[in-house]
Symmetry: C2
Subunit: 296 residues, 2 copies
């Protein structure tokens, strides 16, 4: 039986895009005990310098080709909008044993592009660590960002089975809990629990109008993600359109049901609806903190 | 010119309901330099004992009449559902100079009930400090809960002008920023920035289904308020029905507009919509933290 990859066996890890996720990845790799040379690849020297100053990477380059050459693992952490260009730029310079993954928030289109462009030039499997925040800079990077976070791994029929195992082992080494889904399953699930909440947060901010003066901490929490990068979220909605539309329709149905209960003045049904939501969320919180073995 | 009340002149303050808000109020009164005797009034001895153990109040009683007698100020912090009963129980025992306020999250119905029941028996003005969380117990009470928080004061034509000044001064002494609105204005504003977000948070939890396994920190923030007390929120929706319905309709219009943009694949409009929301929220955060003179 084949021994799954250990993070300690990696000698050179290239991270393309060293913002919050890429920077945290560099820090987490070192914190996990890897001695690999961490190469940061970016488009702006200033971002790369910042990543160096936070010790998120060991060396940096603006040249994708130089950066990925001889890497055992390449993790693409760029915005979705440029990810195909990155795959194209790196493809000719990868070794056939090189593992490649990415951290894009939508998977069907990204995985399709990666498989088309990288083909047999490397061993690609898509990933989506469910971590991060509305911040995007390496200044907010943390070595423990992936600790106890979920990470969806999205293999396809074209994925090399050993590569899937290795990518799972990699995320596990960083403390994440891997889940295996197809890219389409991933996109449907994330449309509900990530993309829809983002749309709703933005809508709540936009309709607040003058009343925003009277908004309190609850509003701050509910709308926090609306402070996320608009270009990044444009690409997320653009690359997961059908699932996002279905999630929006489902929300409309739920809110209409709620509206009828409010309109009817049916206190019992109103409380039952709210109590169900409370119970589901509290159970989710309980599981989440149990996984993290920390208190809320 | 009349001198506005100073919190240091109050000798006896009765707090009816010593949960998160009532308990925080007791702590904040002491922290503001008041030497007033703080009387906690409640329906369960265990809650009162807990409030005593947190030094939120100086003495406790299950008897509303005993508790409010000789008080200079009574603050009603009970759930909306029992607030009329509380007004009725205390009315015969108040002195005509006694200031009375409450902290209910909806105001039109509550203020109407207070004015009807208390009449000239005391000097009542409604309040709504925009503070708190999804927690309701005194265990989460904090002396600084009202620091730099907004507090809407809702006088009517029947309010005694000096009482309004005194209630404003009281909240200011606790560090809050008072806003004056009519009860109806308050209810319309809060329907948008508080009640609607609650409904949406609950809907997002309920429609997540199995996908909740893949939910991350963003989902946690967006839905936090759905962990709030269902009975409390039932009463909020029940006592602010019209404004809540209008806010729900407005959200539907906003999300439909967003849906059309997503469906059309109009990247530019999509980004503009998200960027507008980001800008509005970031400006709100900036002002909020400027008021608090702390960093986000």
């Amino acid at each position: 039986m084949r021994k799954t990859l250990s993070i300690r066996e990696l000698n050179r890890i290239a991270i393309v895009g060293v913002g919050l996720l890429g920077g945290s990845l560099g820090m987490a790799i070192r914190a996990a005990g890897s001695q690999a040379r961490r190469v940061g690849i970016g488009r702006r020297q200033s971002s790369l310098d910042l990543a160096m100053s936070y010790d998120a990477v060991d060396e940096v380059t603006l040249d994708v080709a130089c950066g990925v050459r001889q890497a055992d693992l390449v993790v693409v952490c760029t915005p979705i909008g440029v990810i195909e260009d990155v795959f194209r730029a790196m493809a000719p310079h990868l070794g056939p044993e090189c593992l490649v993954t990415d951290v894009a928030s939508t998977k069907a289109k990204v995985v399709r592009a990666a498989e088309r462009i990288l083909g047999r030039k490397a061993r690609y499997v898509g990933s989506h660590p469910i971590a991060g925040s509305e911040k995007t800079s390496v200044e907010f990077a943390r070595a423990d960002l992936f600790q106890a976070a979920g990470c969806v791994i999205t293999p396809t029929k074209r994925s090399h089975p050993e590569a899937v195992e290795d990518i799972v082992a990699f995320w596990r080494a960083l403390g994440a809990h891997p889940h295996i889904l197809t890219p389409a399953e991933h996109d449907r699930a994330l449309a509900r629990v990530s993309h829809l909440p983002h749309a709703v947060a933005a809508a709540l901010v936009l309709l607040a109008g003058e009343a925003i003066r009277y908004a309190g901490p609850g509003f701050g929490d509910t709308t926090r993600i609306a402070s996320g990068d608009p270009a990044l979220w444009r690409d997320i909605f653009a690359t997961n359109r059908q699932a996002a539309l279905r999630a929006l329709d489902e929300l409309e149905r739920h809110l209409r049901r709620f509206r009828r209960v409010v309109e009817a003045g049916d206190g019992q049904a109103l409380e039952a609806w709210l109590a169900k939501a409370q119970a589901v969320r509290d159970e989710w919180v309980r599981r989440r903190y149990a996984e993290r073995e920390i208190q809320p």
